[in-house]
Amino acid sequence: MKIMKTRYAASVMAARIAAPMAAFAAVMTPAIAFAADAPPKLDSGDTAWMLTSTAIVLLMTIPGIALFYGGMVRKKNILTTLMQSFAICCLISVLWMVAGYSLAFTAGGSFVGGLGKMFLSGLKVDDLSGTIPESVFITFQMTFAIITPALITGAFAERMKFSAMLWFVGLWSLVVYAPICYSVWGGGFLGKAGVLDFAGGTVVHINSGIAALVAALVIGKRVGYGKEVIAPHNLVLTVIGGSLLWVGWFGFNAGSAVAANGTAGMAMLVTQIATAGAALAWMCCEWMTHKKPTVLGIVSGAVAGLVAVTPAAGFVDPMGSLFIGIIAGTVCFWGATWLKPKLGFDDSLDVFAVHGLGGITGAILTGVFAVKAIGGTSGMLEGNAGQVWLQLYGVSVTLVYSGIATFILLKVIDAVIGLRTDEQTEREGLDLVLHGETVP
């Protein structure tokens, strides 16, 4: 995101200032020359789009993820699942204000930012981030910081203590999310190395996907997993949630242009194409192997496509995005229906298969399909094979750091307060025991 901003700043500013002033060009020529070199100033079009994007990215978590996951759990655990997303939204908003934003987006070392903007102290109403108010940029990024840990909750659904979940998510946001975000977008070493991540394939999806896998392994399987019927209780909610994710994702991907421009438009178009391609790919794979095209399958495929096109959105053309979608839909289907049962872990709502594998697929394919004329960087198909290695570098660093840090955090919390609810609670349902409420 940061890369994009600086890359486009000069030319965009020149064009923006020149266009409305065309009529006065003759008399104003010296002024235009001066303006092109001046520091960026607020653009109301960009700001309007980023305000909109911020609102619809928030919609991805509440109620998007909440409903998407809520429909997939058993009825006795739906409220606890909704509660996790909602509480994460509140907790991370406060933590982002306290320290998260500062750690992720202020100048610091190569791995983590500084503490200069803790509590957002000193933020003024006319502070800018590129061509938009910094307040808008902070809130936009806040919605990304919210959705990332909310995605992880699918891995430990139906069995994690609420208190342990809050501790884990709060610490994870500061210890894992903020540094990875800084490394890629805030001026850290991955971004400087040239790793491409337009809207968060690495920062959001690989990061949460590997954390989800580790969490599923550390916390263990649900009681009765593999022996009893543990089926989704209401896929209508899942379809609504998945559809809200899809719509919100336009804010996520097209909003990551941090401008209302051609890059945002192209990001929106390729997002739609990849998502549709992945949904059809998952549906067809399932139709062939399990004889029926399922509703859960097509929605899962759509989310896999959204994930995979996230790092690629500002860098690839429509054809590239179609390939990314089809490949991601197939890979994630394989991950959820073959790999997971084969390895035998209970990543309850397939966060690793969809976000981890989808994110990795998208990150690598961004290096393959990037088009110089679109995002300024060539991919392997344009002769820049090195970009694929760079992408793999970004993927590996994230997998290793997030995986290890997540493992340590979970082990420490387990030792101090315990991660899991007891078997009796799990049998009765977390809604009633943890929250004292039920859905009839």
Partner: protein
């Protein structure tokens, strides 16, 4: 007085209700239930995980009728709810020892 309990296929409910009101049955209670008989269960697949679901959704009708129309009512339900396929359901008939209409206090046949 007889209590007729019929467990039928859900899509046969409207037809059965119409047939019963046609022979003078004044009211009934309907519940959505699950169970299995000779039809056994079915298989559901979620992201490749197959579950055999042993209880199938059915509708249970309970109607209290006077002795003189009990046999007609049973035959009416049987013909209305029949498809000829396995899983059409069952009808049980039992004695009612007392019936009271709450609003008026009327009892037995008058309360039906």
């Amino acid at each position: 007085m007889k209590l007729i309990t019929a467990i039928i296929k859900p899509f046969k409910l409207d037809e059965t209700r119409e047939a019963l009101t046609g022979i003078g049955v004044q009211g009934m209670t309907v519940s959505e239930v699950k169970g299995f008989g000779r039809q056994k269960g079915h298989t559901e697949i979620y992201r490749g995980a197959e579950y055999s679901v042993s209880f199938i959704p059915k509708v249970m009708i309970q109607a209290a009728v006077s002795d003189d129309i009990a046999d007609t009512a049973v035959e009416t339900i049987r013909s209305a709810a029949e498809t000829g396929e396995i899983g059409d359901g069952k009808i049980f008939v039992s004695e009612i020892t007392k019936a009271v209409r709450i609003r008026t206090g009327e009892t037995d046949e008058e309360a039906l």
